[in-house]
């Protein structure tokens, strides 16, 4: 089975800002994951989804227990809200479920769930999958203006691309 780049269902965008701030301001951009865990007083369940997601977005690099902020990550922190959204918007395009979303252009939740299965993405193939998928599409897609919520699903935002 191919391991796809997928946004973790438990990754929240507010956590991303928190992670990058702490990494940059407290640890000067580089630390061990265990130290990060101690500093944030979080469990591994809470920490890893956002760490993996940040890595897939190219904002940090994770290597044998170390975590490094990337240049894109530094840029993200320095930017204002609009620029941050642009960075996420561009970084999501090669990551599932957004790769499939762009392929479909306009879709309902059931459509994209079906298509993701066809594309070999198993992350949402469980009883809570539909709901997880909706949250991810809203949390990351709508937030970064990549997607737009419509009455019966989502639509890829065309006017707002950078």
């Amino acid at each position: 089975m191919v391991i796809m780049d997928v946004i973790d269902p438990d990754a929240r965008i507010a956590d991303l800002v928190g992670l990058l701030y702490v990494l940059n301001n407290i640890f000067n951009g580089k630390t061990d994951l265990y130290k990060l865990e101690k500093e944030m007083e979080v469990d591994i369940d809470d920490l890893m989804p956002i760490v993996y997601t940040a890595e897939r977005l190219g904002l940090v690099a994770v290597e044998s227990g170390d975590i490094n902020i990337s240049d894109k990550g530094r840029e993200y922190i320095k930017s204002g809200m609009i620029q941050r959204k642009k960075i996420i918007n561009n970084s999501l395009r090669d990551i599932e479920p957004f790769k499939t979303a762009i392929e479909l252009k306009s879709f309902s939740l059931d459509d994209i769930l079906e298509k993701l299965k066809d594309n070999g993405v198993q992350t949402f193939n469980n009883p809570d999958g539909l709901h997880d998928l909706e949250v991810i599409l809203i949390e990351w897609g709508v937030y970064s203006r990549l997607l737009k919520k419509t009455d019966d699903g989502f639509e890829v935002n065309t006017q707002d691309q950078s």
Binding site: I13, A14, L16, G18, Y21, V135, K149
Partner: protein
């Protein structure tokens, strides 16, 4: 990142509590002679041991509770009842599940006799300010906790308040989420694009307070009084791991000896 907002940099008192006494109906005296001042451009924090009445004080500052003695003044005039000009932001995230994000935000504008279109436009603006454009028609149940707190903040913004009263606004969030939201909110609050001039926050998290506040009031004793006022002059962003930060933390703890019954 420190922005001075207000009248041409001249500091101005936004909200002040003057000689406040307050007792519960059963006669228990909570506050005696409390004086607190929030100047424009300042982030004010109030700390104190648990059970000291921090939330009660915030309700007095907002006009939700009437003090037995003394008064609260907003921009120089006495505050008698709650007003949208002083916006209370809760610890638990308060969104109304039967309203969309936009309707939630419009809730704070209903009394102003604007036409519907103008209200919607203003609500969208407020949502955009907290980073939620595109979320207008979503219901709170479709959002995560962090996003809902943003909706609550957009709602407070939409009423064009002069000051925010925040009651441990991050207490219910995970530390990661809270950290992200703290930084974002600080930037939004003091962006200078709104009439907002000042913030008073109540918190039990001293690290959080030192990260954010310009001025810290410390409450202690029974009944509670202000036992200390600290001006925090560290540059931002503030790092909880550096020595200056820890020295300040140490100083705050020195005020928080067990409360004593006053003679």
């Amino acid at each position: 990142m420190e922005a001075q907002v207000g009248n041409e940099g001249v500091s101005q008192v936004v909200l002040e509590a003057v000689n406040i006494d307050f007792s519960y109906d059963n006669g228990y005296k909570v506050f005696e002679n409390i004086n607190i001042e929030a100047d424009s451009g300042k982030f004010v924090a109030i700390i104190g041991p648990s059970g000291i009445g921090k939330s009660t004080l915030l309700r007095i500052l907002g006009g939700f509770l009437k003090p037995d003695r003394g008064e609260v003044r907003l921009m120089g005039r006495v505050l008698h009842e709650p007003t949208p000009e002083v916006a209370l932001i809760h610890q638990s995230i308060v969104t109304f599940p039967w309203m969309t994000a936009e309707e939630n935000v419009m809730l704070s504008m209903k009394t102003k006799n604007m036409d519907r279109e103008k209200m919607e436009e203003k609500a969208r603006e407020a949502l955009a300010r907290v980073g939620l454009e595109g979320f207008e028609d979503l219901y709170p149940k479709e959002m995560s906790g962090g996003m809902r707190q943003r909706v609550a903040i957009a709602r407070a913004f939409a009423a064009d308040p002069y000051i925010f009263l925040m009651d441990e606004p991050f207490a219910h969030l995970d530390e990661l989420t809270a950290e992200g939201l703290r930084q974002d909110i600080y930037n939004i609050l003091f962006s200078g694009e709104t009439p907002l001039k000042s913030v008073i926050m109540v918190s039990h998290n001293l690290t959080e307070v030192l990260e954010l506040a310009d001025v810290i009031y410390i409450l202690n004793n029974i009944p509670a009084t202000v036992v200390g006022k600290v001006d925090v002059n560290m540059p931002r962003p503030r790092n909880p791991r550096n020595d200056d930060f820890n020295a300040n933390l140490d100083m705050l703890y020195s005020y928080l000896t067990p409360p004593r019954k006053r003679e």
